[in-house]
């Protein structure tokens, strides 16, 4: 009996292609960043802004941010020391260069962890992804701040940052 090589090969190719697409979709491509799972971290970090995914910054950055909460980008975000320690531990363990590496993907390209960048919005990949957003859109009354991810990324709370 003659084996139908061409149809079989085509089938296999189609299967491989869908597996690849499906796999990427499941992982959310490079636009999924696992949201904060710890209720205390979510509550404290999420009361003024979205509780940013720890995988968006390296561990060194989270240490630096948590050490300066008294002047947090110009605001008093101080917490009691025991809470600060617990939150720091969570962020450091799930950072872009520790436990959250599989989400951070390209976000840390061109970023030096020794510099401990403080703003996600200054990472080269973030800047590139948002280069087409107009100034007027940032100033829109429902946006107001580059820290307001959820104004445009409606599923940001759940970790999805597709366009």
């Amino acid at each position: 009996m003659k084996i139908p090589v061409r149809p079989l090969a085509l089938c296999l190719l189609a299967l491989a292609f869908s597996a690849l697409v499906l796999g990427r979709a499941q992982a959310g491509g490079s636009h999924y960043f696992a949201p904060v799972a710890d209720p205390m971290v979510k509550d404290e970090c999420g009361s003024c802004h979205l509780a940013f995914a720890p995988s968006m910054l390296p561990a060194s950055s989270w240490r630096r941010i948590m050490a300066g909460l008294g002047n947090h980008f110009g605001d008093d975000a101080s917490l009691d020391p025991a809470v600060t320690t617990k939150i720091t531990e969570y962020l450091v363990n799930h950072a872009a260069d520790t436990g959250g590496r599989r989400y951070s993907d390209k976000l840390l390209r061109g970023v030096s962890a020794t510099n401990a960048p403080l703003r996600i919005t200054e990472l080269p990949k973030w800047v590139k992804e948002h280069r087409k957003v107009q100034d007027s859109e940032w100033k829109h009354k429902d946006v107001r701040s580059k820290a307001n991810c959820a104004a445009c990324h409606t599923d940001a709370e759940r970790g999805y940052y597709e366009d």
């Binding site: 003024c48 979205l50 008093d76 975000a77 429902d142 701040s145």
Partner: protein, 140 residues
């Protein structure tokens, strides 16, 4: 005889638990704490005033940050409506009638007084101011 005693004591307990002292929740406890502190620093202190709290909430200050001169800068002019902070995030209404779960965690209340008084007034609020403001919001 013994049974009558049991019934009497049960009745007394029931009445006591519904009297003023029995219903003190976390909000009343916190107001009590502020009242004691206010009395300690000012012997003439004679209770909190929701009207003063209303004034404090709406007053513009110059000691804090220029973009947030008043409580209403972020919380909005309607205590029963939502506010919005500079980061663009919505803030649930401050009036107890609109946000019934508010003011039950004393540490949380203190945390926000500390942060927000520093930002708006440029200093911590006094126990009297905190008690006035809290009385105002509880009555709203």
């Amino acid at each position: 005889m013994n049974r009558k005693l049991t019934i009497t004591s049960l009745a007394v307990t029931l009445v006591l638990s519904f009297s003023g002292a029995g219903i003190a929740g976390p909000r009343e406890d916190q107001l009590d704490k502020y009242a004691r502190a206010a009395k300690a620093s000012n012997p003439a202190f004679s209770g909190f005033s929701a009207a003063r709290g209303n004034m404090l909430h709406n007053q513009a200050f110059t000691g804090g940050k220029s973009d947030t001169p008043a409580c209403t800068s972020c919380h909005g002019n309607d205590t029963r409506g939502a506010g919005r902070n500079p980061a663009g995030k919505a803030i649930d209404p401050m009036a107890l009638s609109a946000s019934p779960s508010r003011y039950t965690d004393p540490a949380k209340v203190e945390k926000w007084f500390k942060r927000n008084c520093n930002e708006v007034l440029g200093r911590e609020c006094t126990p009297q101011e905190k008690g006035d403001w809290l009385s105002f919001m509880i009555g709203q």
